[in-house]
Symmetry: C2
Subunit: 219 residues, 2 copies
């Protein structure tokens, strides 16, 4: 058994507290957000705050820290101005470059150029995709809320374009993002690969879950 | 290079589309939500929709699907009625039991008993913790929003109690949830262990990220 103890994080100094609380929700998604300013300047930033809201319409949420912090302001301003952004999964080959986008580069510099990732424009979509990413999405802003409770901004975005390798899409629609090499994040700075335990069958009261293959069939 | 293609998910039938869109945000957190009804009936359900909102106050978001679906209604009703819930990380030893909580048990049955997990009450907190979990939190409801855009409910909860093994908390506050055995989820039914690539140093424009040990020191 683990030695469970109550942790009194209110006693922690501010940075240690922030590092701890950022770990508590569990593993987080890792995405690069691509945007373009109204004047055509590309911007790229890493976010671990994207979350699924619904499938129909296909909605994604994103939390952006209070915009008094420089780092997220360009992304936030660009999405509010142009209404569009891309989200791009991060794999191991690009993890350092992805992390480096969080440095505070001046607005007139593109993080794509600074970190060595490739901005890809396609299908008339305004915002730049990350060429090196194994799964790319183009999204349009649907709602913006200022969260009074702590000053964060919440964006609700609709997925309009999706690009990936179709061989990762299973017959039942499941996308094998582990095969795609998608990483996850814990806390502020820890990056992780994954190792599938199993897919589990749809739960019903009278039966016990069975292990499914990645393609969704009984093992 | 991957064979990137545009995926036209609007052409997918409804369940296949839902399975696909649920994978797109990336890996998701896996938590068990413990609640108690006003009449004292315990409830336990698995959620992959918890996300970090802020560290001070320590806030967590949770999306609950439209409450016309039976499965999430007991959890939602209990949190609205009592204002309290617990969140409990899921490890490999309990993954089948955790998944099985999503079966539609009648309200008068406790999922704790049905799946074989142990409800733990402590420190005067109203809602039940999961004894087997490596990281347990007690939370109080701060805000509730009905998302008109798709009928989902969004809860904002404040972390009040935290229990875990202190040996997983690093000197800088980082919690090694991989060492704790915490799992993540992709899509509706796929459970994954993780394997750390590295922690990366705080990004600055003039330097390149270096790899840190789990304790946050230079390797």
């Amino acid at each position: 058994m683990n030695k469970m103890e109550r942790i009194h994080f209110d006693d922690f100094e501010q940075r240690k507290r922030a590092a701890l609380i950022n770990c508590l929700s569990g593993f987080k998604s890792a995405n690069l957000v691509g945007t373009t300013s109204a004047s055509g300047q590309d911007n790229l930033s890493i976010v671990s705050s994207c979350f699924h809201i619904g499938a129909n319409p296909a909605l994604m949420g994103m939390i952006i820290r209070p915009i008094t912090t420089d780092r997220s302001r360009h992304t936030f301003d660009n999405i509010l101005e142009t209404k569009f952004c891309t989200l791009n999964h991060i794999n191991e080959q690009m993890v350092e470059k992805a992390h480096q986008t969080s440095a505070r580069y001046p607005q007139e510099q593109s993080e794509f150029e600074q970190v060595g990732l490739t901005a890809q424009k396609k299908d008339g979509f305004l915002a730049p995709f990350v060429l090196e990413s194994p799964l790319q999405m183009g999204l349009e802003l649907r709602e913006h809320q200022h969260l009074k409770i702590n000053g964060c901004e919440m964006l609700i975005l609709e997925i309009q374009h999706l690009y990936t390798d179709p061989s990762w899409i299973c017959p039942d629609g499941f996308v094998d993002i582990e095969a795609a090499g998608t990483l996850c994040v814990s806390g502020l700075d820890s990056y992780h690969k994954t190792q599938r335990i199993s897919r589990l069958s749809y739960a019903k009261p009278e039966t016990w879950p069975t292990h499914l293959s990645v393609k969704g069939s009984e093992k």
